[in-house]
């Protein structure tokens, strides 16, 4: 008999009282939602910005047509000499057209250029699948066109977030985006730059991942302020 079989056998041999009913998680969140004033687009944007600021994330509001230009300005202001991007990504063309210096495509497996990726990359730009207002969180699903390390290795992570894709809670995002239908190899929630409080409970940013997180929040013209 294998370890697996012995473990399962012991579990199955244990006495079981009346089996609990399946927890009704949707009902819990629906009740919470019903008790609170309904989230509006404006309230979600405001809450997201407040919470992301709390995590030391920077939120820059920009309209859909102007983000490459805004990113260009931010790169100049932050002294970014090399910006990692996904050449197959949806926004690659706009990015290239913006004329940002030092664009660096993530175009081959990491094993072929680990050192350069780690030691010679100032920033990375990724899309997001949406955000969560309640906690000031980005939903990032890395894939072949925007690999996992883009949001982890460079000291600055720029993230594009469409305000249309803001959800009230993690549960809402999961439900609306139907995560249980199939998860990618890696899915992430990101709330601010990397941090630690392991030395005498003193917060320090940039523990192992990005030291800065800059969210380019894509909004309509009238939502710019």
């Amino acid at each position: 008999m294998s370890a697996r079989d012995r473990i399962l056998q012991r579990l199955r041999a244990a006495p079981q009282g009346k089996a609990p009913l399946a927890p009704d998680v949707p009902a819990f969140y629906d009740a919470l939602g019903a008790a609170a004033p309904a989230g509006t687009r404006a309230s979600r944007i405001a809450l997201f910005c407040e919470k992301m600021a709390f995590w030391h994330g920077e939120v820059v509001r920009v309209t859909r047509d102007k983000w490459p230009q805004k990113l260009h300005e931010l790169c100049l202001a932050k002294g970014v000499r090399s910006l990692l991007y996904g050449p197959q990504s949806e926004h690659a063309a706009a990015l290239v057209a913006a004329g940002i210096d030092g664009l660096k495509p993530y175009d081959r497996p990491v094993g072929e250029w680990k050192k350069a990726l780690f030691e010679d990359t100032d920033a990375g730009l990724t899309a997001t699948r949406g955000g969560i207002a309640e906690t000031g969180t980005l939903i990032v699903w890395p894939d072949a066109s925007e690999p996992r390390l883009m949001s982890l290795v460079p000291p600055i992570h720029f993230a594009l977030l469409d305000a249309d894709q803001l959800h009230d809670t993690l549960f809402d995002a999961m439900r609306v985006q139907r995560w249980s239908d199939g998860m990618p190899t890696n899915a992430l929630l990101v709330s601010g730059p990397s941090k630690t409080a392991d030395i005498q409970v003193t917060l320090a940013y940039g523990a192992h991942g990005p030291k800065e997180l800059v969210v380019l929040l894509l909004v309509n013209e009238e939502e710019m302020q």
Binding site: A14, F28, D143, R148, W179, M183, K195, A207
Partner: protein, 477 residues
């Protein structure tokens, strides 16, 4: 080599270690300060007691439901993970878990394994097994890195280096990190750790992580962290090995948000951590990073023993937030190392006996005043005080009829204790005898012993009153 001392030190020495710890002013102050900080941060996250109770009810329900279906959920998890390309291993005990991991590492000619935070890897003494196999196992969580650098074990499950001051860490780095100049700036110290560990992430052949939640329906392993080292360990090396206890599985993705929300708020008073890393499989052929090979090691190590008893099964509801230790007046006084086990504090007192046997651990469940603070803050409502009482019973008696004996069942049995409590019951069930004792004790109060064991260490002796309440009430008739 980063070898660490064996985490388990004999329970017989618990009292000496505890006495040494309470006499250490410096340690007392640092734990008190840190625990107060965490207590206040948690409290700020739960301003509405009714809302907290409804969240706890849901979380408790999810955990109880998951445990009730544990064997099926483990099979479903395995099936999904295998379909996703993950290799699943089962280990009955620490030795098997280590052998599996050493085996994988050897197949890949591993020289260096980087580790994200995993209490289960501490529990199975993985670092020792790796050292014995000639493979460096390097902790990459900043707190874990610090304690490993100093040859210590974590003193808290969430804040491993909480017993150390900034100055101690500054000296440690200057002494042990090659090329590091002395600094006591927290930012600079973290910068040193970052630089050292980034090199290691790049060169490690294997990355190891724990698991916070394993989702059966999608075959997803969830990791909670702030630093990003967990992401590094699970993304950069070619091989990722996750290790977890069999109790961590939940049925559905939708079961995760309530548990995750309570975990981070209860642990460090954060509404969410920087990263929530959901991994469902190794790198796909068209992907450019992520491990090419992925393993999950499911560890029993005494969990099935806890599971076999309906009351003690609730021990396995734990989501490892550490709130019970943060709020424990005993933990706050003695810190994590005094316990001598991987899991300190109240959760350690109720889980360690299943992992290490009662013979080695029976003193731990007695190290509680049963004040109930742990049970009050537990986000999944584990009745910790009741379990402590139960374990005290199991340590001093044979197994209850119809129950299988625990490992080390009855290890603290003593004829003297049996005689004391039988004598006690004999007197307290015989009112006339009891009153006679009261009469004698009050009349001969001058003969009260001046030394009364542990009581008089810091207290004057207890002395009976001149008359018992029984007598005073009888006189009124």
């Amino acid at each position: 080599m980063n070898s660490q001392p064996l985490s388990f030190v004999p329970a017989s020495e618990f009292k000496q270690r505890a006495a040494a710890a309470v006499a250490d002013d410096h340690l007392r102050k640092s734990f008190r300060g840190a625990m107060d900080f965490l207590i206040n941060k948690r409290a700020a996250q739960f301003p509405d007691p009714a809302a907290l109770e409804s969240q706890r009810s849901l979380a408790e329900h999810i955990r109880k439901y998951s445990l009730a279906r544990l064997p099926e959920l483990l099979e479903q998890l395995e099936q999904k993970l295998v379909a996703n390309g993950v290799q699943v291993h089962w280990a009955e005990n620490a030795e098997e878990a280590c052998a599996i991991i050493v085996g994988i590492a050897r197949r890949h000619s591993t020289k260096l394994m980087v580790k994200g935070k995993s209490m289960v890897s501490e529990e199975v003494e993985l670092n020792h097994a790796m050292a014995d196999a000639g493979i460096e196992a390097l902790e990459s969580d900043m707190g874990e890195y610090i304690v490993q650098l100093d040859g210590e074990k974590p003193s808290h499950i969430i804040m491993p280096a909480i017993h150390k001051t900034r100055e101690q860490i500054a000296r440690l780095f200057a002494e042990k990190v090659p090329g590091a100049a002395y600094t006591d700036s927290v930012d600079e110290l973290i910068g040193i750790g970052r630089a050292v560990l980034r090199e290691k992430f790049m060169s490690a052949e294997v990355g190891l992580s724990g698991v916070n939640f394993a989702v059966a329906e999608t075959g997803t392993l969830c990791l909670v962290e702030n630093e990003g080292n967990g992401r590094m360990c699970t993304t950069v090396p070619d091989v990722h090995i996750a290790i977890t206890g069999i109790e961590k599985v939940v049925e559905k993705l939708e079961h995760v948000p309530p548990l995750f929300g309570l975990l981070t708020r209860s642990a460090t008073g954060q509404a969410i951590t920087t990263y929530f890393n959901m991994i469902s499989g190794p790198r796909k052929p068209d992907e450019k990073d992520g491990p090419g090979e992925m393993h999950l090691v499911l560890v029993d190590n005494g969990r099935t023993q806890a599971y076999s008893d309906e009351q003690m099964r609730s021990t396995l509801q734990c989501i490892r937030c550490g709130a019970c230790m943060n709020h424990c007046p005993v933990y706050t006084r003695i810190g994590g190392h005094a316990y001598g086990t991987t899991y300190p504090g109240p959760i350690g007192e109720i889980i360690s006996p299943h992992m290490l046997g009662l013979a080695a651990t029976h003193v731990l469940p007695t190290a509680s005043s049963l004040c109930g603070a742990c049970g009050e803050v537990c986000p999944v409502r584990i009745p910790i005080p009741e379990l402590l009482v139960r374990l005290r019973e199991e340590a001093q008696h044979d197994a209850r009829p119809g129950h299988a004996p625990m490992v080390g069942q009855g290890a603290a049995k003593s004829r003297l204790a049996d005689a004391i409590w039988s004598g006690w019951a004999a007197m307290y069930t015989r009112p006339a005898l009891y009153r006679a004792f009261g009469w004698l004790a009050t009349r001969f109060r001058a003969l009260t012993p001046p030394m009364q064991g542990g009581w008089t260490v810091s207290r004057t002796p207890m002395k009976p009153a001149r008359r018992t309440l029984h007598e005073l009430m009888a006189e009124r008739e």
